[in-house]
């Protein structure tokens, strides 16, 4: 090199393949990590974030190219690299059957922290992470946020010069996430370089610099504002329209001048391809909005997928004027031993509405969900779906609902076509309609080229499409979606919501869980679930309004969540373990 670079990590034409003929997980990457700042490693699942971090730790070797950490090639001098770094893998790397203090001691020994320094360092880290009260508790009994802090403390024992954090914010409650962020930010003031990988695009905005990855390729490197600025002047908050918001959005997304758009409470958020608005927007109220990282990411990828849902067009119309609610939960409570996973959950969803359960992992969303599909028996309370009492008519209720489980729950060894056929059979379609529906799903979700592939080997986005196709095979009038878009790229997410919006327009009722704060705004009403309880219920606009203050004139959904947690007084120390 001609001039000494301040970079702590230098990545040079790095390619990584798994298997000799596999597609590159990382494709000809060039990047630098600078000291004293947080570098965001941003992208959907499968983009190559974890692979890049592992390459920086020296635990993986590049197929081509080099990674140098503090001038040490990771291939030849892995030991020297590992002396200098702190690394927190996705699941925090904690021994769940060891206590907080035992975990700290183990990693202190492994990292060679001198014995005489330990009391001071431990005390400081425990204060820093606010874990001092829990030193004797087993790591497995900590809440998600506390585990994450302990994982961070273990990575910080011997002050690293480079801190690698692999998705530290996933599924953790928003308060813990913000605390973690400010802890890490303090570290950068001491000159430590931090790499923070995330699939949350709002986290990217807070980083000093980002590396945006998609399908193994580096789409953008630089300050996030530079990418966000790409759509400046083209983002608008649109209200005052005639008709139903989802219908209006679907129409607008078909306009060639509209690049991207989503529901935001009772309004729409649109990204235009040019600064002057198209004619269709005449008569609507357009307020310029601050562009977001996600807007520009979608724009960079060529804009959203349009607003037409062929799936919805091929779904029969369900009467929306039925006065009976589609889904009803009354005092649903579920205990596991002495741990209350869900307490007194009550809500009802009218026909043709999207209802969201929003909350961190382990809050009780999935438990509530499983009770409402009849997969889990409530300890107390009752649930009704499509008018059927789940205790007495569970089978009838299940026939009317489509269920898309969290993570991939199809048969990985069956091919795409076999999965479709199997689910059509399970839902009791006769031979003719089975053939018709599977052919239709294959066309709608563009699964034809993959029909013979094992479902396991599909990329995440396609897996999610297949899962949705299987769950709507029998034209259910109630749809249960458990974290349907977790980790998928924003284009697939848009496509997904276009289908959901279209189905809702047809009168389908949807219950969805999410930990994406902005996704909550696509719902008509949401319930905030925190530590097993519903701490607030209302429309996204109402909930945001309730958090409005002089300090926060325009709160985000996350601000609202945090304010509501504080208000409910539930932000003390959790009792018992966590169950998701």
């Amino acid at each position: 090199m001609d001039t000494p670079s301040p970079a702590v990590v230098t990545v040079r034409s790095l390619t990584k393949r798994f298997g000799p003929d596999g597609p590159p997980a990382l494709d000809a990457l060039d990047a630098e990590i600078l000291p004293g700042e947080i570098t965001g490693l941003v992208g959907p699942d499968g983009a190559g974030k974890t692979t890049l971090i592992r390459l920086m730790t020296g635990l993986m070797a590049p197929t081509e190219g080099h990674v140098e950490v503090f001038g040490n090639d990771t291939r030849t001098r892995a030991q020297a690299v590992q002396e200098a770094i702190g690394y927190m893998p996705q699941r925090f790397g904690l021994y769940e059957d060891l206590s907080v203090l035992e975990n700290l001691t183990l990693y202190a020994e492994l990292r060679g922290l001198p014995e005489q320094d330990r009391p001071e360092v431990f005390a400081e880290l425990l204060r820093f992470t606010d874990l001092a009260r829990f030193t004797a508790r087993l790591a497995g009994r900590l809440s998600g946020g506390m585990k994450q802090k302990l994982g961070l403390a273990c990575a910080l024992l011997k002050k690293p010069r480079l801190l690698l954090l692999d998705e530290p914010g996933v599924g953790v409650d928003p308060i813990s996430r913000r605390e973690l962020w400010s802890m890490v930010e303090n570290l950068t003031r001491e000159g430590i370089a931090v790499v923070w990988s995330t699939a949350y695009l709002d986290e990217a905005e807070a980083c000093s610099r980002v590396l945006l990855l998609n399908e193994g390729k580096l789409l953008f490197a630089g300050p996030p504002g530079q990418l966000t600025g790409r759509t400046r002047g083209r983002v608008f908050r649109v209200s005052g329209f005639q008709g139903r918001k989802r219908d209006v959005l679907a129409g607008l997304l078909e306009d060639p001048l509209v690049s991207d758009g989503v529901i935001q409470g009772e309004a729409l958020r649109l990204v235009l391809r040019q600064e002057s608005p198209p004619e269709r927007l005449q008569g609507m109220v357009m307020v310029p909005a601050e562009p977001r990282f996600e807007d520009s990411f979608v724009d960079l990828l060529g804009g959203g997928p349009g607003g037409r849902s062929v799936l919805a067009e091929n779904t029969r119309e369900f009467p929306k004027d039925d006065p009976k609610p589609a889904i009803e939960a009354r005092g649903l409570t579920r205990m596991f031993g002495d741990f209350t996973a869900a307490a007194d959950i009550t809500f009802s969803v009218p026909r043709g509405e999207i209802f969201g359960l929003l909350g961190p992992n382990g809050a009780g969303k999935s438990t509530t969900f499983k009770m409402l599909c009849g997969l889990l028996k409530p300890t107390r309370g009752e649930g009704r779906v499509a008018g059927f009492d789940l205790r007495r008519d569970g089978a009838n209720a299940r026939n009317r609902l489509g269920y898309m489980a969290q993570k991939f729950s199809l048969y990985g060894d069956l091919s795409v076509a076999q999965n479709l056929d199997f689910f059509a059979g399970v839902y009791g379609l006769d031979r003719a309609s089975r053939r018709a529906r599977t052919r239709m799903m294959t066309e709608i979700f563009d699964l034809g080229p993959y029909a013979r592939q094992s479902a396991r080997d599909l990329p995440l986005g396609l897996k999610q499409r297949l899962a949705l196709a299987c769950s709507v095979m029998h034209e259910p009038d109630v749809l249960f979606l458990d974290e349907p878009t977790s980790g998928v790229d924003p284009i697939t997410r848009r496509e997904f919501w276009t289908h959901i919006n279209g189905l809702v327009e047809r009168g389908v009722s949807v219950l969805v869980t999410t930990h994406f704060m902005d996704e909550a705004e696509y719902c008509d009403r949401i319930s905030l679930i925190y530590r097993g309880r519903s701490i607030a219920l209302g429309s996204p606009d109402d909930l945001k309004a309730s958090a409005r203050s002089d300090d926060l004139p325009d709160p985000t959904m996350e601000d609202a969540f945090i304010a509501l947690i504080r208000k409910s007084g539930a932000d003390g120390e959790p009792k018992g373990g966590t169950v998701s």
Partner: protein, 374 residues
């Protein structure tokens, strides 16, 4: 200084592993509960059939002489006798498997005996279970012969072909237990060394702790040693448990030395642990690791070690195959530690072979446990 760092890291890993073993019910289960179950199974279960075998005794024409003979049948611990007058009463039970055999004392028995003619007793057995059938036959002969001798009348001659004392010297019931219980120790050591070790390493991969640990300055060799030491000690603890049970509960003699037993066990643990580590670093998945450990460790130790089945009576190809089964080299030495006393030339040969196997497997597994996750 570097060695001191290394030793410190190994100590930390061993301490961590020990805590996990003590807190994890599955380790305790495999290392202590399973051995107890196995020993009881081989100590009692396998030999149970040879005691209290249910037979029907048909006395067609009762007399004081036949009553005395029936008493002899009732008195032996090997039979549990139901008595009757006609064999047809028992035929159904024999076919259903409720009885293992029918002993018929014919009408002419008393007269023949008194007349000094050859008095015959008929034995009907279930031929579908040849072992038990032979057993019933042999014990009937033995019981009759013993009864005849007890009659003390010189006038009565033992029927030809009966050798009274030999039958009781060669006591299959006792011999099987004496042989099976020491042999079970080889199985137990395979369970701890191969199955348990492969499970705990695979678990670290599954839970992501292996990745976090590898990103620290710890070396692959240190990780391996940190795993080996605790399970090595755990294996020796299981041996102690087996020794106590074998000698106190099953009354197996212990004619060799403790030193020999522990030396043999320690050397045997090397290939067992090596195989366990190799499996887990190849699969990184608990389910797969346990399946492979059972197939490559447990089953060969069970079937091909000479513990249950005589190696001499196996087909030649299989006999050669047993040479690579570590347990096959341990079992003869183990039985001699218990039953015969120390035979050092035999031990040394076994130790040399096991140490060689251990060295090969451990070297390969250390190589495989590179600090790499791709």
């Amino acid at each position: 200084m570097r060695l001191r760092d290394s030793l410190r890291r190994i100590r930390a890993l061993v301490r961590k592993e020990t805590r996990q073993i003590l807190r994890d019910p599955s380790s305790i289960l495999i290392a202590f509960i399973l051995p107890i179950l196995l020993l009881f199974l081989f100590g009692y279960g396998v030999s149970l059939d040879t005691k209290n075998v249910r037979v029907g005794l048909v006395v067609e024409s009762p007399s004081p002489v036949t009553a005395s003979l029936a008493g002899a049948f009732r008195g032996t611990p090997y039979f549990q006798v139901s008595e009757g007058r006609d064999r047809r009463e028992f035929e159904d039970s024999l076919m259903r498997g409720h009885l293992r055999g029918i002993v018929v004392v014919p009408k002419m028995f008393t007269e023949d005996l008194a007349a000094g003619r050859r008095a015959a007793v008929q034995v009907l057995t279930d031929g579908t279970d040849p072992n038990t059938a032979k057993f019933v036959q042999a014990y009937t002969e033995g019981t009759v012969a013993l009864w005849l001798a007890g009659q003390g009348s010189g006038a009565v001659q033992a029927p030809a072909g009966l050798t009274v004392e030999q039958r009781f010297w060669f006591n299959p019931e006792l011999a099987s237990r004496f042989f099976l219980v020491p042999g079970a120790i080889a199985i137990v050591l395979t369970l701890v060394g191969t199955l348990l070790t492969s499970l705990v390493v695979a678990r670290e991969w599954e839970r992501g702790t292996m990745e976090a640990m590898m990103a620290t300055p710890v070396s692959a060799l240190e990780i391996v040693i940190g795993k080996l030491v605790p399970y090595f000690i755990l294996g020796l603890a299981s041996v102690t448990l087996c020794l106590v049970l074998a000698t106190l509960v099953f009354q197996v003699p212990f004619r060799g030395s403790f030193f020999a037993l522990y030396l043999l066990a320690a050397v045997f643990l090397l290939p067992s642990l090596g195989l366990g580590l190799l499996i887990s670093s190849l699969t990184k998945n608990q389910f797969l690791a346990s399946q492979i450990a059972l197939l490559s460790g447990f089953l060969p130790a069970f079937l091909l070690s000479g513990f249950l089945f005589q190696i001499g009576s196996m087909p030649v190809a299989i006999r050669f195959l047993t040479a690579v089964v570590p347990a096959r080299h341990l079992v003869p030495s183990l039985s001699s530690v218990f039953l015969a006393g120390d035979i050092w030339p035999m031990y040394l040969e076994a130790i040399a072979i096991l140490a060689l196997m251990g060295a090969v497997l451990l070297t390969v597994s250390v190589r495989m446990t590179r600090k790499r996750i791709d």
